[in-house]
């Protein structure tokens, strides 16, 4: 179980990018001609030598990936997190042999399959049946394998009726279903998934996630790159954070997400300005999350309280009762709960600051999104004055070591909430066995 399937040692990838020089301050036709002639000459020279030609006259070396080392064991589900340009896709490209590293080496044991952007390799003129064979082979299945799984694939895609229709006549939904069905029946030892979940509707994304989960349970290794942190926290057991091409964090998945949200996403401050305004309704001004000491934070310890502060303006007299409320969602969009401010009286025009105090030991570890709203309750109806959906994020961090509930267990504990409840455990019977 503990054997290593991927081992990367000081992996690096450098790209050379050419820039147009800045030295052309006096742009005369003669200079342009001279420059063009010169670059033409150097290009021909490079071409003759078989060297790659770089456009532009100054060159810059860009390391898309630098000094990356890790070991991945069989059956691990590894999420690779990082902002755009951090080198995630480059890493996957190296692992799936599409491109070659500039430095270092990777040893891979087993067949690697790359779950491409759905439908790459489909040919629009070919029928569904033909495309299953084409795409399957491109993804690395043998003909016999496809034949064996053909019925299964078709059933999964729910496109039996249109098997002999060219896929260009398919609806986009059918197209995506068929493409995913082929990819889902791949059985490699190592599955590499890059951002596929960004396409398709929610139902399809769920199907993808479900399939990947089962792949992981079968003991295969999955490497998963996504901006969807919720998907990573749900699926992956381990997370690697890349920052500007270097490894910034490697460890348990939720911890990696915490690291990433703290260091990268929320790096300036968790204090946001209001997005929209409306003339006759209550205006949302700003919101922030603060710890017990009043400092603005984006993450908080699991047993520490924090508070959500929301500023809003009541522009004129409003008939009903205005009630600020907070909507808590998990990172993957599941509603945890909504809380209203209790016992509100009608508010005069003016600027208000609402403070919602959240006790420690309420949420589970992980990332939560907080939506903010003010609702007006009238006798028979209600009106939402503003609703800033998922406006703030707070990451709850658990400490494995000094948590009395964990007893040293370091793994993830499922659930949306993890309250600290009163327990009594008493000996009620003296009987000996």
């Amino acid at each position: 179980m503990n054997d290593i399937v991927i081992k990367a040692e000081t992996l690096g990838k450098m790209y050379t990018i050419g820039h147009q020089g800045e030295n052309g301050r006096y742009v005369a036709l003669r200079d342009v001609l001279v420059q063009n002639a010169r670059s033409f000459w150097s290009k021909t020279k490079d071409l003759a030598k078989g060297k790659p030609i770089i456009q532009g006259d100054t060159m810059e070396e860009v390391w898309a990936l630098k000094d990356v080392c890790f070991e991945i064991h069989r059956g691990e589900l590894v999420g690779i997190i990082g902002s755009n340009g951090a080198g995630k896709s480059t890493l996957l490209k190296i692992l799936s042999r599409i491109t070659e590293p500039s430095t270092g080496r990777v040893s891979i044991k087993g067949r690697v399959a790359n779950l491409l952007e759905v439908g790459t390799g489909f040919h629009p003129e070919l029928t569904g049946r033909e495309n299953i064979y084409l795409n399957g082979t491109i993804l690395g299945m043998t003909r016999a394998e496809i034949k064996r799984k053909f019925d299964e694939i078709v059933a999964f895609a729910e496109t039996e009726k249109y098997l002999d229709t060219p896929v260009k006549r398919y609806s986009s939904g059918m197209y995506v279903r068929l493409a995913f069905a082929v990819a889902a029946h791949l059985e490699p030892e190592i599955l590499v998934v890059d951002e596929v979940l960004s396409v398709g509707d929610i139902q399809f994304q769920k199907k993808c996630l479900g399939k990947m989960e089962s792949v992981g349970k079968e003991g295969r290794t999955v490497l998963f790159v996504s901006h969807n942190l919720a998907a990573i926290s749900n699926l992956c057991t381990r997370g690697i954070v890349l920052e500007k091409g270097a490894m910034a964090f490697d460890g348990e998945a939720t911890r990696a997400i915490h690291y990433y949200t703290d260091a990268v996403v929320n790096s300036p401050k968790q204090d946001m300005e209001a997005p929209v305004a409306d003339s006759d309704s209550v205006r949302f001004l700003s919101a922030r999350i603060m710890d017990a000491g009043g400092a603005i934070v984006s993450s908080v310890g699991i047993n520490n309280p924090f508070s959500i502060q929301m500023k809003f303006q009541v522009p004129k007299h409003i008939q009903g009762t205005l009630v600020p409320n907070c909507h808590f969602k998990t990172a993957d969009g599941l509603y945890a709960f909504i809380v209203n401010a209790p016992d509100m009286k009608p508010l005069e025009p003016g600027i208000y600051t609402a403070l919602c105090k959240v006790p420690g030991n309420l949420f589970n570890e992980g990332m939560y999104k907080v939506g903010l709203a003010v609702t007006e309750y009238r006798k028979t109806s209600l009106r939402v004055h503003f609703f800033a959906t998922d406006f703030l994020t707070i990451t709850v961090i658990d400490s494995v070591f000094d948590n009395p509930l964990r007893y040293g267990y370091g793994g993830p504990i499922p659930g949306v909430l993890r309250p600290y409840l009163e327990w009594t455990v008493d000996k009620t019977d003296m009987a000996q066995p």
Binding site: V106, I108, L116
Partner: protein, 283 residues
Amino acid sequence: MKNLFSTRSKESLLVIESGRTEKNYWADLWRYRELFVILAWRDLSVRYKQTIVGILWAIIRPFLTMVVFTVIFGRIAKLPSDGSAPYALMVFAAMLPWSLFSNALSESSISLISNANLISKVYFPRMIMPVATIVTAFVDFLISFVILIGMMIFYHFVPGWQLLLLPCFIIMALLASLGPGLWITALNVKYRDFRYVIPFVVQFGLYISPVGFSSKVVPEQWRLLYSLNPMVGVIDGFRWCILGGDSPIYGPGFLLGLAVIAFFLWLGVSRFRKMEKTFADII
């Protein structure tokens, strides 16, 4: 480092490293043969989709060219045929290898850029791509071969034992197109200029190769120089096979043609392998 990788099948261990020349490059190519077959099949089945006469194009094109060449070179310019063979038959015997060569060359030279999405998304030995497109050219060749048989029946022309050697010359034509094809498709990945070079080369080549006329028309002292064009040897070979002894092969020229083909094949393969690793980065 105690036997990290020894628990499971040792042979599936893959090491990716910068500049690592793959020892098992050709074995890898063989391992991906199913992909090769399916890509060739895809190109074939897509080739004449959404056309009215479909596969007939493979017959119409060489046939019409043959008619035009026979009229211009045979009737108007009154060039001599090879021995007793009808002029049309002599032209068509050259038309076959020429269209095989030119189709294979032009298809393979754009094969990589027209499959850019695959190149940048999935690994396979890149050489599969241009070679697979050559298969489609070969199938076109087989179809137009039917015309040749029809013409032989029409002219009551019985070929000699030499016809049995035709496969050798088919392979020669394929290799002649593979070398430059590989080189140019690799160059095409970065410099799209070469996309415009090939149609020109093909058009040009039709006139400098002995397609519309017999290579005996070329003066004796220029014959060797003329044979630097690798298609001269191939076309002469085809004529020798199909028309029999009436059309003997010019020995030194033929060997020179073989050498040129071998050189281009070596050049194409080595350049291709050199550039192959960076295709995904620059396509």
